[in-house]
């Protein structure tokens, strides 16, 4: 019996090769805000897409997502829900960027024959899982970018027929999205770092973004075996400067109104990093930690104080203060709509290269709804007041009510420059049922996406190590001299000409009245009979007759 059970245990340990890691990075920002970034990673060396074998026994990996992956043959899935806009110029680059609203992009496996059908069903299922209105994703806001969104995991799929990308810039993120997201964690919000996620604090912030990324990755450096990675990230920016009476002090309790006591018992690693690069001598961390770590992330070498929750010292209350300067983001983009009136307009996208001496190319992707009819011949790209010809343009024109415009360009940004991309558009008149319930609010146009390999100031680490912090290992680094950055611009809010919505009824009433009046007079003319009446006797005669009648005398004629 003993042998049997130990044998069983061995089999179990061999079979259940999944692990869970959690991590929190806190970075005081230049503006006085605090950036807190949670990352939870579940690794499972199984294959959801294997033919003939169904994955059906789950341990740490959430069952609902696993079933979705195998049913829809998903190779890679990235979904993010964001409330607020990331201010790159004030806050620097985020670890994992996301546009305002909801964003979903999915690579399907190349055995899928009906990609559109799978995509439609997948969005419906995901909208159920995350309590979001992802079911509003349809062909009119889905695009297939040819170059901007490459798979982040294993497999160099290049056929963008299997890629679908959609954003819902209007999506409002709130607790009902956070609760199902927390449910996907093995420990829920009962233990580990997730106890900090109290929704009334998380949503009382300048920026909130939660995301789920699923992709196949290598188990080790040799890539001998494949594993599926589920990465759940949550990024918050707290505006403590205004709420903390001007003091540059923060603590976990102040931010989350909770403190950390223990790691999730299922986690193999559970760490808290505090970024102390900017001004190490001014920082005062309590409790102090002997552990210091360095990581190269987004082209910058940062120093961190590391707290390991698995080997606990005491309960964590961090209350450091002070701030320093920040590295200016090398790449930055913004966008606005120009023009007047309700007929035409112009979209301006401005991309800044802040690198003092290096030029580098960026990929700009724009997905514009069909009701803004782009005049692609007016497309101009200027940098330093000179024409800058894109070396690659992929343009897919919109079809009314069927698909949006997709514009992708590879633009070379000169060093220390500002590049402006403008294109004119005409606003379409929609059918009266196509307007949203509050049409005068305007229509959102999703963020444009700037993806680039930005030259790095310091050497990036290309080797793969298991003990690398999670936040620095999301995007694979291919070469030492540059790092990958994706920047999202602001979404646009465009006014479309709106009709008077009571008009159909008014028109019905008016025409009916006109028809009825005309009809009535004709009918009268046709059917009324005219007769000549005998003229009535004059008034004096009638009076006289009246008196005569009273007197009983014969009447006058």
């Amino acid at each position: 019996m003993l042998i049997l059970s130990s044998l069983l245990l061995f089999i179990l340990l061999a079979a259940a090769r999944d692990e869970f890691q959690e991590e929190l990075v806190i970075r005081p920002l230049h503006s006085g805000d605090i950036y807190a970034s949670f990352q939870f990673r579940t690794l499972w060396d199984t294959d959801f897409l294997q033919e003939g074998q169904k994955v059906s026994h789950y341990r740490l990996f959430p069952k609902s997502l696993g079933q979705v992956l195998s049913k829809f043959s998903v190779r890679e899935l990235h979904i993010s829900f964001t409330q607020g806009f990331w201010r790159t110029m004030q806050w620097g680059q985020p670890f994992i960027p996301s546009p305002p609203g909801a964003e979903l992009w999915v690579w399907f496996h190349d055995t899928v024959s009906d990609v559109d059908g799978n995509w439609k069903e997948l969005t419906n299922v995901l909208s159920g899982i995350f309590c979001a209105s992802l079911n509003f994703i349809d062909l009119t806001n889905t695009v297939q970018p040819s170059a901007s969104f490459k798979p982040l995991g294993l497999g160099n799929a290049t056929d963008h027929r299997f890629l679908r990308y959609a954003t819902l810039p209007r999506e409002i993120v709130c607790t009902e999205n956070l609760t199902p997201w927390k449910k996907l964690l093995p420990c829920g919000s009962k233990a580990g770092l997730a106890v900090l996620m109290k929704s009334e604090k998380l949503f009382h912030s300048s920026f909130h973004s939660q995301a789920v990324h699923i992709r196949p990755i290598c188990q080790d450096e040799q890539c001998s075996s494949k594993a599926w990675e589920l990465r759940q990230t949550l990024n918050v920016v707290f505006d403590l400067h205004t709420s903390g009476q001007g003091k540059k002090e923060w603590s976990l309790f102040k931010m989350f109104s909770r403190t950390l006591t223990e790691a999730c018992p299922l986690a193999s690693s559970s760490k808290v990093y505090v970024d102390i690069t900017d001004n190490p001598e001014l920082f005062e961390l309590s409790p102090a930690t002997p552990l210091l770590g360095q990581a190269v992330v987004l082209g910058d070498r940062r120093t961190y104080s590391v707290y390991d929750l698995i080997m606990p010292t005491s309960s964590m209350v961090l209350s450091p203060c002070a701030l320093g300067d920040m590295l200016r983001p090398l790449l930055h983009a913004e966008r606005y709509v120009a023009g007047f009136g309700l007929q035409t307009g112009e979209i301006h996208t401005v991309i800044y290269n802040n690198h003092p001496y290096r030029a580098f190319p960026v990929l700009l992707m724009d997905s514009v709804p069909w009701y803004l009819q782009l005049y692609i011949h007016t497309l101009t790209v200027t940098s330093k007041s000179r024409d800058n010809k894109p070396s690659y343009i992929h343009y897919q024109p919109a079809k009314d009510r069927h698909r949006p415009h997709l514009l992708e360009m590879l633009i070379q940004l000169p060093p220390h420059s500002m590049t402006e991309v403008t294109v004119q558009f005409e606003r379409a008149l929609l059918k009266w049922t196509e307007y949203t319930p509050d049409p005068n609010h305007g229509f959102y146009v999703g963020s444009s996406v700037v993806s680039a390999l930005v030259p790095s100031m310091v050497a990036m680490r290309t080797n793969f190590t298991q003990d690398q912090p999670l936040f620095s290992s999301f995007v694979p680094v291919k070469e030492e001299s540059s790092y990958f950055v994706r920047v999202y611009t602001e979404p646009l809010l465009v006014n479309l000409p709106t009709p008077d919505f009571s008009m159909p009824y008014n028109v019905i009433c008016l025409t009916c009245t006109v028809v009825a009046v005309g009809y009535g007079s004709f009918y009268n003319l046709l059917t009324r009979t005219f007769q000549v009446d005998e003229p009535s006797p004059p008034l004096s005669k009638r009076l006289a007759n009246l008196i005569r009648r009273m007197r009983g005398v014969p009447l006058l004629t």
């Binding site: 059970s5 009825a516 046709l526 005219f530």
Partner: protein, 569 residues
């Protein structure tokens, strides 16, 4: 709107004529002028009635495809005839040579099951074919029954056993004493009672049919037990999801391992393979941490353990269910089986029944939802053990309980054989062939009942609400459901159980697709007051003059007739 062209036509002639004539001929033309106005009013009214109203009706009517209403109403008073092929094999020495001479012979034994006043159930059981050869048939077709009659003195069965039911579709029957002078028919009719008992054990009895129809028919004379059986069993569906969840509320003290994959392979899969003709099953499992029951167990000093009373069990499931998650990939009904390992501070935990006794299996089930088993682990480690403690769960014990619950949920009912019957245990598959047949019989009847209810209520709905658009695809689904239903009934009558089940499943699928089609809802909420709001500005001013002038014409005609009568008098 519709009659305006016509009015204009008549207009072109009259307006100029009328004023000119008026002045000079007014006195002379009084009568023709009145006549003309009357004719014009009548002509306009005629145009409105003959052209306008039909045109308006035609352009605003909703599309309604043809539905086989008469066949559907026939379904409403459906008579099911179930027939079972029964082969009676007489072994050597049971019959005399004279009796053997007269064959083949078959006789039909009919039995009527009155289920409800409105729906009589006609049950034909069984067309007994006497096969006198002792040729052993090893394979018999699905739904049929073979009865071997052995001599009274045979030692094959123990002394007090009258009937032995095997794993397959066979039964051994100890023959009652015959008179040698009887002919075969008399012998068979002598066997009737026993054969009937065998059939009601191995195929279906009155209670099974009643239970299968319980969704459709409100019953009064059903025993409580069979009602409970029918309510416990999950409703018939083309597929089921079976989810095993291990609830570990305390991962800090217990690190639980369960070999669910192996357990499913060795315990659950054989049963599911056997049940494959009924539905598609998919099995999955998950481990949920920090999942707690909805009730705080009470500490009982007398047994020094925590207990859950039977009354509080109904509150246990709700908070757990929020964590279970629905199946994202399919919409089939889910059967949940939860294994709950109580946390270290609330161990051991026992379930008590209504009479305050410990439930030996420490498990309970919720009808049509699934089962929960409490698995205590506090005895597997000492107080000084290092946390978390690695614990392997004994899957044989767990699966024994879950398998029993699964059988209940799937409607494999406990049979109560008459005295003198011996049933062989079902063996490794967990299900004997005849048990499967029982399930197939009741499922076919249930499917037919459900599908016909769906179709009749859909037809009723469509009949009552004239606003609903009936598209061609719905009409097609409805008629395919009706044809499948009819063929299922016919197959049941012919005794082809497998085909009957297949047709009944098709009928259910088609009827549900028709019933839940979203296109039915498109115009449902187009309220009447909006319609009136749109029509009144046009119709009221147009119709009032027409009606008034018609009334005037009628009253004038009446008056004239009265005058004429007075004159003639």
């Amino acid at each position: 709107m519709d009659n305006s062209p016509k009015t204009e036509n008549s207009l072109t002639i009259y307006p100029f004529v009328v004023p000119n004539l008026l002045i000079s001929y007014c006195c002379i033309l009084v009568m023709p002028e009145k006549q003309r106005g009357r004719y014009a009013a009548l002509a306009i009214a005629a145009v409105v009635i003959v052209v306008g109203i039909p045109l308006w009706w035609k352009t605003t009517e909703t599309y309604r495809a043809w539905l086989p209403f008469s066949e559907i109403s026939e379904l409403d008073s459906l008579q099911l005839q179930l027939s079972v092929d029964i082969e009676v094999v007489f072994s050597r020495g049971t019959l005399t040579p004279e009796q053997q001479k007269k064959f083949p012979l078959s006789h039909v034994n009919e039995k009527e099951h009155q289920v409800d006043v409105s729906i009589p159930e006609l049950l034909t059981s069984p067309s007994t074919e006497a096969d006198l050869s002792l040729h052993m048939l090893s394979e018999s077709s699905c739904g049929s029954v073979v009865v071997y009659v052995i001599p009274e003195s045979s030692t094959l069965l123990p002394e007090d056993v009258k009937v032995y039911v095997g794993q397959r579709r066979t039964a051994l029957l100890r023959s009652p004493p015959f008179k040698t002078s009887w002919n075969l028919k008399e012998v068979l009719s002598n066997l009737d009672v026993e054969v009937e008992q065998v059939v009601s054990t191995m195929s279906f009895g009155h209670q099974d049919i009643v239970a299968a129809l319980s969704n459709r028919v409100r019953m009064t004379k059903v025993t409580k037990e069979s009602m409970a059986d029918s309510m416990r069993a999950i409703k018939s569906s083309p597929g089921y999801e079976i989810t095993f969840s291990l609830l570990n509320p305390d991962p800090k003290s217990h690190s639980l391992h369960w070999d669910i994959e192996g357990a499913v392979q060795s315990y659950i899969q054989p049963l599911l393979n056997k049940l494959a003709p009924i539905a598609n099953f998919s099995v999955d499992s998950q481990i949920l941490y920090y999942a707690v029951l909805g009730v705080n167990p009470r500490f009982d000093n007398s047994v020094s353990a925590y207990t859950l009373s039977a009354d509080s069990l109904s509150h246990v499931i709700n908070p757990v269910e929020a964590r279970l998650g629905s199946n994202a990939a399919s919409s089939n009904p889910v059967l949940n089986f939860l294994l709950y390992v109580p946390d270290a501070h609330h161990s051991p935990l026992f379930i008590r029944d209504h009479s305050k006794r410990k439930v030996p299996s420490n498990a309970f089930h919720s009808p049509r939802w699934g089962g929960i088993m409490v698995y205590n682990v506090n005895e597997m480690y000492g107080p000084e053990a290092e946390r978390p403690v690695d614990i392997n769960i004994n899957m044989a014990k767990v699966m024994g309980v879950f398998l029993a619950q699964l059988r209940l949920m799937l409607g494999v009912q406990h049979t109560h054989p008459p005295t003198g019957f011996v049933l062989q245990s079902p063996g490794s598959a967990g299900l004997a062939d005849w048990e499967l047949d029982r399930l197939l019989w009741s499922r076919s009847v249930e499917n037919i009942a459900t599908a016909s209810t769906t179709i009749t209520s859909l037809a009723q709905l469509l009949d009552q609400i004239g606003n609903i658009v009936i598209n061609d695809n719905i009409a097609q689904q409805v008629s395919s459901a009706v044809t499948s239903l009819q063929s299922a009934v016919a197959e049941l009558e012919a005794g082809n159980l497998a085909f009957a089940l297949q047709y009944s499943r098709e009928a259910i699928l088609a009827s549900e697709r028709a019933f839940f089609d979203p296109s039915l809802l498109h115009l449902l909420y187009f309220p009447d007051d909006q319609k009136f709001a749109i029509y009144i500005p046009l119709f009221l001013p147009m119709c009032v003059p027409i009606v008034l002038s018609l009334l005037k014409i009628v009253s004038e005609a009446k008056k004239r007739r009265a005058d004429k009568q007075a004159k003639s008098d």
